[in-house]
Symmetry: C3
Subunit: 204 residues, 3 copies
């Protein structure tokens, strides 16, 4: 449980970074950046808790989530200038957060007794919910639609969790393996532009 | 109950088609299309269950919803080329889904003991929620705002349900009549461009 | 409790106006305007109730909310031509609603036993949720990101509520003071263009 908790905070931090860097990219003021950090990093978990019926959501009763997200926003605010010319930090942080939250969403759904498809759905929702909120707020096409192998990475992560869990593996190891696989899948897709088949039609 | 269930799946399927065809229109890859199908077809029902306090929502505990949505997405993916030059399938599928989900939203709200205005609100939310999610994700102006007689069609459907139900009509018949009326209202509006009065201002 | 209730309805009314005037600006038809009024004025409260686990939300069981929102939409529809050349009514109504809902969100979170950060989060969410829904639906950049001192105003309002409440002040007075401070902060920011520091980057 403890390890899950710190893992969750880590996911909150990296998603907070992705929201914060995105806000800096659009020249939001300090509070706008903090709002985007909070929305991105807490959005997925709040959706997860609301859907599972865990009231009030963790983010509202444990202040560490709040401060972790704010810290990430501050880091993004103060370091955005230095960082942005080297990497697309929004995408990198997003990929790490995606993996972590896919694993945590799967674990939470499993703890609530959902079946495998419920676990997959919850995993994808938790992993992508915050990013969708972020992208909608800054009016970009959500990564879940435009990015290569995005929801797919979360699905892979949740399948790894379900498989290891059904083999009776230690939950902490299942969690770590699930997050690592999902993040890695996304990194590989980002690096090599791995794509799924496309239907023909107009471009965005 | 059984009839309600298959009716619900039918609504999931047609909304899944509308999401899938929309995704194909924007050249999303296969997973993007499936994501859009799932979001469109399950979004309204998840909102309905979360608001009524039915945890976890149906879509997370009954895998048939999941597979019905995925099937609709696959159909859209493989047939989008053939279909799109003949009809605006997104709008047609959306109109059918609108009617079905308006009726089901009304029935669910009624089963939870809500009053007539609660039933109308829930009916409109269930009927339009998935479509709003779809339109937000692909960054179109939501149909609920731009389309002629859209929320109005759901309201008419819910009023039909409330009226028949208060007369003691068999619930299955109320459900079918409500869905038919809502879908028909929307079709008529699409065909004849029936419009409500407009305030003057700027165009989108 | 009674005073809180009428205060809540007042918030619903002004947010309904802001949604309605926004809809009129985009030449929506009458039902589109009513939908936008309802979404703007009830959105924040529904999110609040869903997150706190209050099922079904107030807006679904008390018809006065519904009619208040519809009334605001009708007012916006019939008076939009006369009003819009004089003031930016969307922003003014939004600022008043922001203050009222910040106070009510804080009071609700406090009644549910949340700590100070939970109260602040809930206050900001309740105050800004409806406006975010409105802005997303008409595809504007949400005020919470672009407007000067927006979420900040809600935070100030919630801090005033927490402070007065912890001093044992009468809840009605805490509520009024909190709403007044939040709205005033926002008005001052609107009038004098008070801004928080910005990170450098591209403009929207």
């Amino acid at each position: 449980m403890n390890w899950l908790y710190y893992f969750d905070l880590f996911g909150v931090f990296v998603f907070g970074l992705s929201g914060g860097f995105d806000g800096a990219k659009y020249r939001l003021d300090l509070f706008g950046i903090l709002v985007l950090s909070l929305a991105t990093s807490l959005g997925g978990g709040i959706m997860r808790d609301v859907i599972l019926g865990s009231h009030p959501p963790n983010a509202f009763i444990n202040q560490t989530y709040f401060f972790t997200a704010v810290l990430a926003g501050l880091v993004a605010f103060f370091f955005s200038k230095r960082v942005e010319r080297h990497f697309d930090f929004v995408q990198i942080a997003d990929a790490v957060g995606l993996g972590v939250f896919a694993a945590i969403g799967a674990a939470a759904a499993s703890a609530y007794g959902l079946g495998w498809f419920g676990i997959i759905l919850m995993s994808v929702l938790t992993a992508t919910g915050g990013g969708v909120v972020r992208d909608l707020l800054v009016r970009e096409i959500p990564m879940i639609l435009r990015a290569d192998f995005y929801a797919s990475a979360a699905i892979i992560g949740s399948i790894v969790y379900i498989s290891l869990d059904s083999l009776g593996i230690n939950p902490d190891i299942s969690l770590a393996a699930s997050a690592a696989t999902a993040t890695l899948s996304r990194f590989i897709a980002m690096r090599f532009g791995f794509r799924l088949p496309q239907a023909r039609g107009k471009h965005f």
